[in-house]
Amino acid sequence: MHEMSIALSIVEAVELKARQEGAGWISGIELLIGKLAGIEPDSLKFCFSAAAKGTLAAKAVLDIEEPPGVGECGDCAMRFPVSFYYAECPGCRSLRVKIVSGEEFMIQSITIEEGE
């Protein structure tokens, strides 16, 4: 359940930013979680509600964008969608595949509100 410690890191990061911006509370958090990032969005949402209790982010809605995995073949340079790490190049059957997208794990932005 690393989602819990991750939820806590998110709360910590967004609270810090919100305080710096003089916000009253946080209404939304935009996250980028690649399909290969090793994070379950549903599990994260579940943990987030517990982690955010009593913080500026208590009422924040998580908006999660999930970019798909993209692999690049180390032999023929073809790019193709991948849904797991052990992908095979559909062009030349090579297994030397490098993941070029899908491992993102970012807090993109927050929406903050004035007042209580």
Binding site: M1, H2, S5, I6, S9, I10, E12, A13, V14, E15, L16, K17, A18, R19, Q20, E21, G22, G24, S27, G28, E30, L31, L36, G38, F84, Y85, Y86, E88, L95, R96, F105, M106, I107, Q108, S109, I110, T111, I112, E113, E114, G115
Partner: protein, 265 residues
């Protein structure tokens, strides 16, 4: 409340030393500016709602602290390995076997990670190397802050080898950089040979894979070659070793590899 010292700390990781039941240190984040106030000449907006960009890695705090650990290790020429596996695949047994082969030539120290008990630290202490136990409580992985706190309690020597034994778990520890030079994933032949495919993130993040308990191969349905193929499909950069911590078979190759890395620094 902590049941050992009665302080107000609830939960969180604790450092312990074997054979000293009174010693314990709470891993506390001393904070990096969370409390300081910022005066940014308060902006006033027409609408009460606005979006602020962060573009920040979610694990940024851990990653920055891991880099700080890494800088400390580099400055003191300490070679650090992060050992990862499911519970029971033989991480501690492997350390018990490999440390005596190395400690004549290089100082060795160990950080043990477990949810509870100092059992593993006691086994390592019997080898006569400095060891500290991190009890993560409910935590399922070690993080860079726990390791950073442990470093301050461990009397590390320059030019040494530091082995960090992570919490037995093939999922969560993969995501948390501790500042190590290499991640070593261990799998035993009593697990399935498809484990690299079932837990690809761990094998993808690892630099070295050690197949342990090869002495049991005649008694189990485990195809070592298939397992190796599966692991290399997930990560074709993976260095692969097959050992038996019990009989010592295959340990020489792993020791040689390690010693070369230690000399190359």
């Amino acid at each position: 409340m902590c049941d050992t010292c009665g302080c107000s700390s609830d939960g969180g990781a604790v450092l312990r030393k074997p054979g000293n039941s009174d010693y314990h240190v709470h891993v506390i984040d001393s904070g990096h500016g969370d409390d300081h106030s910022h005066d940014h000449g308060h902006h006033h907006h027409e609408s009460g709602s606005r979006t602020v960009a962060l573009q920040q890695d979610v694990l940024q705090k851990n990653n920055l602290l891991a880099e700080r650990n890494r800088g400390y290790f580099e400055a003191r020429n300490i070679f650090v390995l992060n050992f990862l596996s499911s519970p029971g695949s033989g991480k501690t047994s492997l350390l018990e076997k490999i440390i005596p082969l190395l400690q004549q030539r290089f100082p060795v120290a160990v950080i043990e990670g477990d949810q509870q008990t100092t059992n593993d630290a006691e086994r390592i202490e019997a080898l006569g190397v400095p060891v500290i136990q991190i009890n993560t409580g409910s935590g399922c992985h070690l993080d860079a802050l726990m390791v950073n706190s442990a470093l301050k309690e461990l009397d590390l020597q320059d030019n040494s080898l530091l082995c960090i034994e992570n919490v037995g778990n093939l999922v969560c520890p993969a995501l948390f950089d501790l500042g190590e030079a290499f991640k070593v994933v261990i799998i035993s032949v009593t697990e399935g040979d498809d484990k690299p495919l079932k837990y690809p993130t761990m094998f993808h993040e690892a630099d070295i894979c050690i197949l342990n308990k090869t002495d049991l191969l005649p008694y189990v349905e485990f195809d070592a070659l298939k397992c190796r193929d599966n692991a290399l499909r997930v990560n074709h950069h993976l260095a692969w070793f097959e050992v038996s911590a019990k009989t010592g078979e295959g340990l020489e190759a792993w020791r040689e590899w390690l010693e070369n890395k230690l000399k190359q620094r």
